[in-house]
């Protein structure tokens, strides 16, 4: 009795032929790239609602609630300032506090997006196995959540920058396109690591080390001039292409007067920033889409 196919009364067709005759499609067939983008657009409200929900949920057990959105970056900045600004004091960088905080907050945006992105598929397996929606919603929601967090940090940053004596200039406006480019870059990167993390659970263990190395290579905690002084020129040239460094430098140029820069020109900074956003944004999206059918397997 086992393994028997139920005979169709009206035809002796095989399953595939029957499916073709009545226009049935493969269950969970992957849509084309264009269709997929369209579906994501249709689900934009879900992405926004989910991102918001995650943000609220992450503070829901804390007594201070969403105040932590501002307190976390502040505490972070205080700890690093204590070590790198007071204990290992360096006087070479003008306005080191603002310099440090800009780097920290901008880098933190990418860092947390990547770290939560790695687990965005694995930690939502229940949702994925229960409901049908384009899976890219999950890593994109992570990016949106982190973007909201960043807005909190930016308010803190603006206060720090002003208190430490920087003037408000028109250059501050450059911060807007810079952050938008970084957001696109983060979205692509988050999608890429989300797919990798869904296949390779070990990635979660490795990620903190990768991120720390990346942070040291992005000139967050010390003057970027050290790169050009200490490294051979080819290596310092490579560091100049580091996307995190590029976005940090753009933010510093926007907010701070006479801050040290590694990149030779502002134009070069903008070109690399746009380049990275396009490459990572499009590349990460395509890479994630190619795995669309597999995410339910876990």
């Amino acid at each position: 009795m086992a393994n028997t196919t139920v005979a169709d009364p009206d035809s002796g067709l095989t399953g595939a032929q029957l499916a073709q005759r009545y226009g049935l499609r493969f269950a969970g067939e992957r849509p084309t790239l264009g269709e997929y983008a369209g579906q994501l657009w249709h689900y934009r409200h879900f992405i926004a609602a989910y991102a918001n929900a995650k943000l609220v949920a992450s503070f829901s057990n804390a007594r201070l609630g969403q105040l932590w959105q501002v307190l976390t970056p502040l505490t972070n900045a205080a700890v690093y300032y204590l070590i790198f600004g007071v204990v290992l004091a360096q006087n070479r960088t003008p306005n080191f506090i603002a310099y440090l905080c800009t780097g920290l907050f901008i880098f933190n945006f990418t860092q947390t997006a990547v770290q939560t992105g790695t687990q965005s598929i694995t930690s939502n397996l229940g949702l994925i196995r229960a409901l049908h929606f384009p899976r890219a919603c999950l890593p994109l929601a992570v990016t949106v959540t982190q973007f909201q967090q960043l807005l909190g940090s930016m308010v803190v940053l603006a206060v720090i920058v002003l208190v430490t004596g920087e003037p408000i200039t028109l250059a501050w406006l450059m911060l807007v396109p810079a952050i938008l480019l970084q957001t696109v870059f983060n979205a692509g990167l988050t999608m890429a690591v989300a797919r990798m993390g869904s296949k390779l659970a070990d990635l979660k263990q490795v990620m903190p080390f990768v991120m720390r190395t990346w942070m040291y290579g992005s000139g967050v905690l010390y003057s970027v001039e050290l790169f050009s002084e200490q490294l051979p020129s080819w290596a310092s040239g490579l560091v100049e292409l580091n996307p995190a460094l590029v976005y940090i430098e753009l933010a510093r140029v926007s907010l701070l007067e006479n801050t040290p820069l590694l990149s030779s020109s502002l134009l070069q900074l903008w070109v690399t920033a746009v380049g990275w956003a396009i490459v990572m944004g499009v590349g990460g999206f395509i890479y994630f889409w190619r795995g669309e059918q597999e995410y339910g397997r876990g």
Binding site: A57, A130, A201
Partner: protein, 271 residues
């Protein structure tokens, strides 16, 4: 009970009158294999793991579970099909494969439109209020924000979580397991579906809710093409399905009219 049994007989009688048999789901020799990382403890802790990497043998802590082994059947529009079998026989896996949530390793599953799985496992965000979870769940099913706003009160009413006070505004982690399951069922049942897959959903909640949800399933079935129902409650299978498929350890053991299959199954499980 007897009345319901008779009414389900009526349904069986009306079925052959459906002139055109349009298939909605074709399952063709489907195999589903889970690869499970058992994690540490697979053999000898870190040293063992290192040895395995050095000797390039595949880790014993990855095990394959062949959950569905070559199942084939065709479901037609207007049918309600019960899936029965003992625990771990691959029923839920089969549903997930039909829903396209879990890809088959071999064979194929063809469906008309997008089947929807209505399960009690739909994990929502436990830290959020029931109401926000309703909104999220509806958006995840692809409803527009307007529609969501309109439907939210209905869904909360249907779930009945507000019967003991205003629970809709409390986080879901404060709910009893029955309340959570009722809310999840209500969310998923709010949408019309071409092919509807129901996983044990009717077994949740108290008797009143069960009656209400069975009625809802019948309504959905009128709108939907085909309904699949997984349940250990043979009575609810008898009440709602005229055809039943019996899976046992991943193999299709019997497929036919509910009465016959359930009788065989009861004999098998020694009731």
């Amino acid at each position: 009970m007897v009345e319901q049994f008779e009414s389900s007989n009526d349904v069986t009688v009306t079925l052959p009158r459906v002139q055109e048999r349009i298939p909605t789901v074709v399952v063709d020799d489907a195999h589903v294999i889970y690869r499970i990382h058992k994690g540490a403890g697979g053999g000898g802790g870190p040293v063992g793991a290192l040895k395995r990497i050095m000797s390039r043998t595949s880790a014993p802590n990855i095990r394959e579970v062949h959950a569905v082994k070559g199942v084939s059947f065709t479901a037609y529009r207007g049918e309600a099909i019960g899936l029965i079998g003992s625990n771990g026989s691959g029923k839920s896996t089969m549903l997930r494969a039909i829903a396209g949530l879990l890809p088959v390793n071999r064979g194929a599953v063809y469906t008309q439109g997008q089947p929807s799985l209505l399960g009690v496992n739909a994990a929502l965000l436990n830290d959020l209020s029931g109401e926000r979870n309703v909104v999220l769940g509806c958006l995840a099913m692809g409803m527009s924000p307007d529609e969501v706003q309109r439907r939210t009160p209905e869904i909360i009413d249907f779930s009945g979580i507000n019967q003991r006070g205003d629970f809709a505004s409390l986080p879901m982690r404060t709910y009893s397991s029955g309340m959570g399951a009722r809310l999840r069922f209500s969310i998923a049942a709010a949408k019309k579906h071409d092919v509807l897959l129901i996983d044990e959903a009717l077994a949740t909640g108290d008797k009143i809710f069960r009656k209400r949800s069975e009625r809802r399933v019948r309504e959905l079935r009128e709108g939907a093409g085909t309904v699949f129902l997984v349940s250990h409650q043979l009575s609810s299978i008898r009440d709602t399905c005229e055809r039943t498929i019996w899976l046992e350890s991943g193999v299709l053991r019997m497929d036919g009219p509910t009465d016959e299959v359930v009788r065989e199954y009861e004999a098998f499980s020694g009731k």
